[in-house]
Amino acid sequence: MANLKELSQRTVKFTAGHRACAGCLPAVALRQVTLSADYPIVVGFATGCMEVVSTIFPYTAWNVPYIHVAFENVAAVMSGVESAYKALKKKGKINEEIKFIAFGGDGGTYDIGFQALSGMAERGHDVLYICYNNEAYMNTGIQRSSATPFGAQTSTTPVGSVEFGKKQFPKDLTQIMVAHGIPYVAQASVHNWKDLNMKVEKALKIKGPKFINILAPCTLGWRYPAEKGIEIAKLAVETCVWPIYEVENGKYKINYKPREKKPVIEWLKTQGRFAHLLKPEYQHLVEEIQKEVDRRWEHLLELAGT
């Protein structure tokens, strides 16, 4: 595993000068992932915030080959790129060892791009798929996705006199990817660069489809002061709202078990999107969230055999 000094000396693949908001943690996730990849890489991107902020013609933040085609198809596009690589390598037209990384937001991964992702996984393409999960469609103005937490206020799940925000718990996409039986699936959080670096390095060594779901807070959509993002990401892990774990060939490993699980309210109260839940009339919703977080955590512990 590369240490901080080594990482800092590598050529930056996702460079500064892009147009992400100050305090944008998806941008940090991109930098960490690409720095951890100590190979020549080709990057594919789904439409979304990070695509938009990183490549406004004639500028590009990408120091590596990059392609963006559409919102829902990055997994299919990278399936094609990887197949081209296989074909050209077979013919002796390419000799380098190249790695392929597909990036999508939660919208481009959990929702509209899910079919293509499932197809890529089933066909066994040698691609690392990274979901930078900021828990809503940020690029189009903070609409709910199937990754948006229960109770969160978004532009399409506004809080009104009869509504309290999103009414569904997020889809557990990481588990769905585990169910695909692919060799490597992990959850990571942007606050723990060491863990993320380890996961990317490990994933890139494995042949076949890999999936890493990274929680990456968005200052605009979650409504918190720009400098608080890392703390908030950390809280997500400490409250077990977002456990970090990996599943290698079906074997679970929880990478961080909080000694004392913090109550979910600690996480909720850091973000404007949950502000309404702090009112006494919504106390029962907070309890409901706590229950679901506990249930999922217990289930994960069970899966990990602990």
């Binding site: 013609f57 559409a70 198809n73 094609g80 790129v81 197949s83 081209a84 293509a116």
Partner: protein
């Protein structure tokens, strides 16, 4: 060269075997299915080096083809109807990214109601998507056009994707005599694919598909329009080269008995063959009729259309698709637009919509069309709304309109 008995699908699969694409992505849809059955047999028998990507939808089929092509590989896919409709978003992107993808399209009607048979609604829906479109009259042409398309698409002054179409079932499932070139002749003709920019050139990284706003988007689109103009100029040179290796000379439009023809009937695809037979028959009876087949539909052969219609008295245009709400069918629109502002702008043109959902178009139907056009020639009365050919109730409808004195 060898002569083989092949269906249209098999003929195109044979062309694909000889092209030996690096990557083929595909998803099944009738009537394209047999094409990919045959091609995957070639893959299974090691007759091609192709990486076959059997995707989970046509949207992904074209997306994977786009990825492969951008990576630097020669990449193909094929589809029909709903599959092409599902690709719609990526059609524009493939063209906008200037990727030289070749895609056979086996023409089929669009839902609803669902129907698996041949008409041109699918391809016509994609006519302005930035793809070059070449129509084939028979299996031989489908084979030849597929090979020629590789050279057109990859020409450095064109770099546009190409659709090669054939009528579903009528061509795709009919066994014909097809002259197949030798493998090495095709290999030499298409040459190696070595694009200037490719994702797999990791030492020279490029960003493909960036956000392109008010300050540059328009220039890029303008350049794309220019590429289509270049195609219009350059396809003839590639056709000429193909003639040299095959002895078959193709042109943007193919005139048939047109020199002294008063009445000319324009068509695309397999119907052109039927029209040729009818022209022969009517010529024996002394009628001065001719046919004009459009092979290259995008870029539209506007100058050739003008040239070949210059001595006509009346023109009929056959459309195997409806452009709903438009004054006439898509081919007719293009023909009329090409003549507008020229000495032919008053040439009487009648539009015939026919054959939807695979409805047969018979020599009898075409004789009727020529007879009607002859009446138009004599009377000078030109119906300016489309005529629907071979559809139940249409005769009554026209009679009724006559009774009610509704013009057209």
């Amino acid at each position: 060269m060898k002569v083989m008995a092949l269906t249209g699908n098999e003929a195109v699969a044979e062309a694909m075997r000889q092209i030996n694409p690096d990557v083929v992505a595909a998803y099944p849809i009738t009537p394209q299915t047999e094409l990919m059955h045959r091609f995957t047999e070639f893959v299974a028998d090691g007759l091609v080096d192709t990486e076959m990507v059997l995707v989970e939808s046509e949207h992904s089929a074209l997306s994977a083809t786009v990825g492969a092509s951008a990576a630097g590989a020669r990449a193909m896919t094929a589809t029909s109807s709903q599959g092409l409709a599902l690709m719609w978003e990526i059609l524009y992107i493939a063209a906008g990214l200037r990727l030289p993808i070749v895609m056979p399209v086996v023409n089929r009607a669009l839902s609803a109601p669902i129907n698996i048979h041949g008409d041109h609604s699918d391809t016509m829906g994609a006519r302005d998507s930035g793809w070059i479109q070449i129509f084939s009259e028979n299996a031989q042409e489908a084979y030849d056009n597929t090979i020629i398309a590789v050279r057109i698409a990859e020409h450095p002054d064109i770099l546009l994707p190409v659709m090669v179409t054939m009528d579903g079932f009528i061509i795709s499932h009919t066994m014909e005599r097809v002259e197949v070139l030798d493998d090495d002749v095709v290999k030499n003709f298409i040459g190696e694919y070595n694009p200037k920019y490719k994702l797999l050139d990791v030492k020279n990284p490029v960003t493909m598909g960036p956000l392109d706003l008010q300050d540059y988007y328009f220039e890029h689109k303008r350049a794309q329009a220019e590429a289509m103009e270049n195609a219009y100029k350059l396809i003839k040179e590639i056709d000429e080269e193909y003639y040299k290796i095959s002895g078959r000379r193709y042109s943007y439009v193919e005139p048939y008995e047109i020199d002294d023809a008063d009445i000319i009937l324009i068509s695309l695809g397999s119907t052109a063959g039927t029209i040729k037979d009818v022209v022969d028959e009517l010529r024996l009876k002394g009628l001065k009729v001719g046919g004009l087949k459009i092979r290259v539909y995008r870029p539209f052969p506007r100058d050739e259309i003008k040239e070949f219609l210059s001595n006509a008295s009346v023109v009929g245009v056959m459309d195997r698709a409806i452009a709903f709400g438009s004054p006439c069918g898509p081919v007719c629109l293009d023909v009329k637009a090409s003549l507008q502002g020229t000495s032919l702008s008053n040439l009487p043109i009648v539009n015939y919509i026919y054959g939807l959902g695979g409805r047969d178009i018979t020599p009898k139907d075409i004789i009727k069309i020529f007879n009607e056009l002859e009446k138009v020639r004599i009377s000078g009365e030109v119906p300016n709304l489309p005529r629907y050919v071979g559809v139940r109730g249409e005769e009554n409808y026209i009679e009724q309109k006559a009774k009610l004195k509704i013009k057209n």
